[in-house]
């Protein structure tokens, strides 16, 4: 198996001793077809066991190993070494606090995810004896793309609005809210609109589009957010222009 010498510059931060983060250089030999995560694993196994980072599946499914690789939010298991020349700069995901080395604190994202109620809220309670909720393939297709989110937070690291205004609910959470709003079995849109149609919701988005460019699951959060803006604007016009608020 052909090997290549990989040079990495990794951002380090030890919360027990450091007041600032600093870069540390490593050189390691990896298989030609390897990914950045392989290089980090080799470093941890053979050079520096103190290096901290998150990973799990190594197949772009779990969404754990997101990092900034040469300034681009990427899953490190999906960043092929052959695509990089020279020193590869590896940093924790932008816009999130650094817990330790490449590990970030996702608390803010998790909190926002909870707020948008990303689960089915049935229109009316239905006993199990009445059977399942039926859905046509067309109804499924309407929201299917937005179900593919793996909560990797790359879109938050790419979104300058989230970096500048951390109260912004953000791309993944709003896309998931939109996913359930679009579901024919769901009746929870009004509850979610209170969060996602607010000032800190979709109106913080200025359509930079970076979220969709970096999304490894091709969810296209920018599309979801623009659709939410249009739907929310229609709500506003109905409420203010139609008799009875369009209800």
């Amino acid at each position: 198996m052909k090997e290549r010498l990989v040079r990495l510059e990794v951002l380090r931060y030890n919360p027990d001793t450091d007041t600032a983060a600093h870069f540390q250089r490593y050189e390691v030999s990896c298989p030609e077809e390897g990914v950045v995560l392989d290089a980090l694993n080799k470093i941890k196994e053979t050079i520096d066991p103190t290096l901290n980072y998150r990973w799990s599946c190594h197949m772009a499914v779990c969404g754990s190993c997101g990092m900034m690789i040469n300034g681009e939010p990427k899953l490190s298991c999906h960043a092929f070494l052959r695509e990089y020349d020279g020193v590869i700069r590896v940093e924790p995901l932008a816009h999130f606090p650094i817990e330790r080395d490449l590990v970030t604190a996702p608390d803010d994202f998790i909190e926002k995810l909870k707020r948008v109620k990303p689960y089915l809220i049935p229109k009316a309670p239905k006993p199990i004896s009445e059977g399942e909720y039926l859905q046509t393939p067309a109804q499924l297709k309407k929201y299917h793309r937005f179900t593919l989110c793996i909560n990797c937070m790359l879109c938050y690291a790419a979104c300058p609005e989230y970096g500048l205004t951390p109260k912004f609910i953000g791309p993944a959470a709003i896309s998931l809210a939109h996913r359930y709003n679009q579901d024919s079995r769901d009746g929870g849109r009004d509850e979610r609109q209170e969060i996602i149609a607010s000032k800190e919701g979709v109106w913080e988005c200025t359509f930079v589009g970076a979220c969709s460019e970096v999304c490894p699951a091709h969810v296209d959060p920018a599309s979801a957010l623009q659709q939410v803006k249009i739907a929310s604007s229609i709500d506003w016009f109905k409420e203010h222009l139609l008799p009875g608020g369009g209800k």
Binding site: K141, S212, K229
Partner: protein, 130 residues
């Protein structure tokens, strides 16, 4: 073990230099200034027309000045770029589902370009260009 996370601030005035995609976004936003400036220019045009013949003729002479021609070229380039970026974005904001399939995005953006071309020809026709 207590937590001591490191917060990194985003530079509020220089963040868009961090990546070419942010510069492209800023370029799109800045072109709106030219679109706005041209609206103000049109208001001046109407004002000079309302003020009488001599005022309007002076305005027409000013239109032929090098500064005016440069402004028009810049505003045209900015308006074209601005319009193209938004037409390309329409397929994201307004997906159309027919049965189980979505209408191809290029068709949605293409329809906007077509409408743009048709309206431009109509306006040029009304203006007596043809």
């Amino acid at each position: 073990m207590s937590r001591n996370p490191l917060i990194r601030e985003v530079p509020p005035t220089s963040w868009y230099f961090r990546h070419p995609r942010y510069l492209r976004y800023m370029a799109r936003e800045i072109t709106s200034l030219f679109v706005g400036a041209y609206c103000v220019f049109l208001v001046f045009a109407m004002q000079s027309l309302a003020a009488g013949q001599s005022s309007y003729e002076a305005f027409l002479v000013a239109l032929r000045s090098p500064a005016s021609i440069i402004f028009h070229l810049l505003a045209l380039a900015a308006a074209l770029y601005h319009a193209a970026t938004w037409f390309n974005a329409t397929q994201k904001a307004m997906p159309i589902q027919r049965g189980e399939e979505f209408v191809p995005g290029k068709l949605i953006s293409g329809a906007h370009y077509l409408a743009w071309a048709v309206l431009s020809i109509v306006i040029l026709f009304i203006a007596g260009v043809f």
